[in-house]
Amino acid sequence: MQTVSLLTLFRTFLKIGAFTFGGGYAMIPIFEREFVQRYGYIKEEEFGDVLVMVQSLPGVIAINFAIYIGLRLRGIKGAIASAVGVALPSFIIIMVIATFFFQYIDHPVVAAIFQGVRVAVVALITTAGLKFLKQNFHMQGIFLASLTFVLVFSAGVHPFFVIVGLAFLGYVIFMTKDVIARDRA
């Protein structure tokens, strides 16, 4: 395995953090290009496994990924260099923008622009939700999705309990099916 300097890790992740719009999912192909294809630090097959892992754990996909790559290549120091690198651009850019945002949000022109932008936010979130729905378009998926919606939105149950509850329910369903399948076999 090649060794990689902490500075290279930091710089690579900094670049990804600074130029990738659209969050974690948009970063995945860039990670693959940089770490698998360009430098060959990680093998293609391992990359696939890592992807499953970082998406299964809670948290920010980009940070989880940076932590794994950093740890794997340079231990704890590598993890810190990578995670700080990928988060730093957002951190600085958002603070600069927030400073101006709160100065001008009450200006009538800015307020009018944002009233339009809020409509786009609803459209973007709805689109993301519908895409997820398409991937889960079967009886069980639609039932569990509707259950979540009703609990969080209509009944006002705290999302924390709904997430934990649905994870548990999913586990019970999965294990029940698993037992039935094994009985048949």
Binding site: G22, M53, I93, I94, A120, L144, A145, S146, T148, G170
Partner: protein
């Protein structure tokens, strides 16, 4: 250290610990804790913050944590919120990386995701539903919504372009 900084850290730690699915699936947790429980942002500012996270690079959760923390107590708050949101996941990744093969085959992970995958659908759609009355305030807004949905769904326009267009239209309608 001011109490608010600690409160930011622990609130975001709690959000980060159960934020499965990334991005939009995390929004209901953010909204409940930030807008409703603590009242750190109004609902309209919360929506504006999502828009700002979209037009700037980087993960939505990091952008949101930085924005909220900074707005409350400056750089210190931004640091507390951002480190808080990644605190627990970072430890979990460290642990899971040692047991990659077990993790891949784990029935617990597969089982949990049988429930979580459809839960993401419900979570994302409920976050859209909860902001709709603050975002779409008249018939013009509703019309704009359907036009933007068409641009996203049929024309497959890039999200950033959709935000830019909506800003221009907002200026024309409401300016």
């Amino acid at each position: 250290m001011p109490v608010i900084v600690l409160s930011l850290f622990f609130t975001f730690m709690f959000i980060g610990a159960v934020s499965f699915g990334g991005g939009y699936a995390m929004l209901p947790m953010f909204e409940r804790m930030i807008v409703e429980t603590h009242g750190w942002l109004s609902r309209s500012l919360f929506i504006d913050m999502i828009a700002l996270s979209q037009v700037t690079p980087g993960p939505i959760a990091i952008n949101s944590a930085t924005f909220i923390g900074f707005q409350l107590t400056g750089v210190m708050g931004a640091t507390a919120a951002t480190t808080g949101v990644v605190a627990i996941p970072v430890v979990l990744v460290g642990v899971a990386s040692k047991y990659m093969d077990d993790f891949k085959e784990s029935k617990i992970v597969k089982g949990i995701y049988t429930g979580l995958r459809p839960a993401f659908v419900g979570l994302v759609l409920s976050s859209a539903a909860s902001i709709v009355t603050d975002a779409i305030i008249d018939w013009w807004g509703l019309l704009l919504f359907f036009v933007l949905m068409g641009l996203l769904w049929i024309v497959k326009l890039h999200p950033i372009l959709v935000i830019v267009i909506s800003g221009i239209v907002g200026f024309i309608i409401y300016g």
